[in-house]
Point group: C2
Chain length 257, copies 2
DNA sequence: TCAAAAGTGTTCGGGTTACACCCATGG
DNA sequence: CCATGGGTGTAACCCGAACACTTTTGA
């Protein structure tokens, strides 16, 4: 804040701003990337789908508000929501992004494992996991579009969030956030392939992941099958590392349609 | 915003939030990284240094406000400020970050070439370029600290901004934003070395930059000397590319003290 | 003639890529 | 016994790190 606007501290001297959080919650299920959407029950955009979110309470930080909303919309306990990976995306402040009043929204991105369908409790009644169109490389010209646009500027927020997570998979260990507590390397590879919309070479992927200290840790116990068939795969859990050195760059050309 | 809080649209139903922008404006001069700071003229934190910034006007987006404040504080014309590289850093919303009222601040990072000292005009009277302590690797335990803490949570914002620009130099072409319109490869290398606090191998740096299409473009004209001595160097200007493929990773160990 | 900075060349090793091949399981 | 997915091995290749060396200028 500036030292040059002393009158700024009368809370009612300016047109008030409302501050909200919006959440782009992603998961991978059935080989598709899904995002959590809620159906709006009122104008404007009544009946349209929107990202979940809500207002900051008077003594709440944006991150706290985001976790609270996430717990409400997904039906998770606040305990569980507190552990989920949440990351601030950016803030959207165009004056007319909400037709009724000035609303500044802090957007967050969350990556969650394949959760059960949002419970009916409260807000979650109108929440659905919605598959994203088959992945195209972020920023590609023919970027696919969902049939019905989302409310407000949420299409923009969703696109930004999608680009961000694709980039983050390259140089962080975030992909494990999409996986259950115990996962196979095949499942981890499917995360990358689903988000990026590419096919990766399994032997190379395997070596790359195992060669990065702290990315995954082997876990004793029963091997498991990723698909219906094939050899059971060893189980791993997420390691302590958060960055990927060197990065796992996504291939450029040749992504699947 | 949520579909579940219909009362949310009465502008006065909630304690109002003030929304501000804060700017971390960096430049490289005399081989040191500098940040633009302003001296606070009033309580709280009277006499302390702070990041420049100010309130959003009623119909202004955060980015517009940031450019306006940047022009005011640096004495640049709004035309020039419109062309500068500005990037949203993140939003700070802790309830008590301002002791007087609820202030949510959208922080921006700007990279500018070595500008003249801020003009005395208006707000810029109390603005100064302040050298950052000799660079240490971001996240290192013994991270250096400036003698006097900044006002509010601006130390935190500055640290976040510093980390961000260091990381951005790795995989974007942003370093040219620190350079004048015509620059030598030696000057560009000094930007990297100053921000990262490391020494780079000149031959390898040169090849890497020239091998990246669109990073820099050769410019006809008089060669120039970077330091006082030595062979005059060819001039370049920033190219059209914005991302660096493959990235220019900073070396890990061996940074200079 | 020396110091300083620009610029060129070359070697070496690690990491990625591409692909061949074997193993374990269910149908 | 075959399809499917897990897992190992290997050779080619690319790129970055390291360093030797030449060129051009000012002092």
């Amino acid at each position: 804040m500036s030292a040059t606007r002393p009158e700024g501290y009368d809370p009612y001297a300016f047109e008030p701003f409302a501050v909200t959080v919006d959440l782009a919650v992603f998961t991978v299920r059935e080989g598709r990337l899904h995002v959590l959407l809620v159906e709006r029950g009122q104008e404007p955009y009544q009946g349209a789908w929107a990202l979940p979110g809500g207002f900051l309470l008077p003594r709440e930080s944006a991150e706290t508000a985001a976790r609270r909303e996430l717990a409400e919309e997904t039906g998770l306990s606040e305990r569980t929501a507190a552990d989920l990976h949440l990351e601030q995306l950016r803030t959207y402040s165009e004056p007319d992004r909400d037709p009724r009043m000035r609303v500044v929204s802090v957007a967050y991105t969350a990556l969650v494992p394949d959760l059960p369908e949002p419970r009916g409790g409260g807000d979650a009644a109108h929440a659905r996991w919605t598959p994203l169109p088959a992945a195209a490389p972020p920023g590609a010209p023919g970027r696919d579009r969902r049939p019905a646009p989302l409310a407000f500027d949420h299409d923009r927020i969703l696109a930004d969030a999608y680009d961000r997570i694709g980039a983050k998979l390259e140089y962080t260990c975030l992909a494990t956030a999409f996986c259950p507590p115990r996962f196979t390397l095949g499942e981890l590879q499917q995360v990358y392939e689903t988000v990026w919309g590419v096919e990766l070479d399994r032997p190379n992927f395997r070596r790359k992941v195992l060669a990065t200290p702290g990315f995954v840790e082997a876990v004793e116990g029963e091997p498991r099958r990723t698909g219906g068939r094939g050899k059971p795969a060893a189980l791993y859990r997420a390691g302590a590392a958060s960055v990927l050195h060197p990065p796992l760059l996504r291939p450029e050309g040749r992504q699947q349609t």
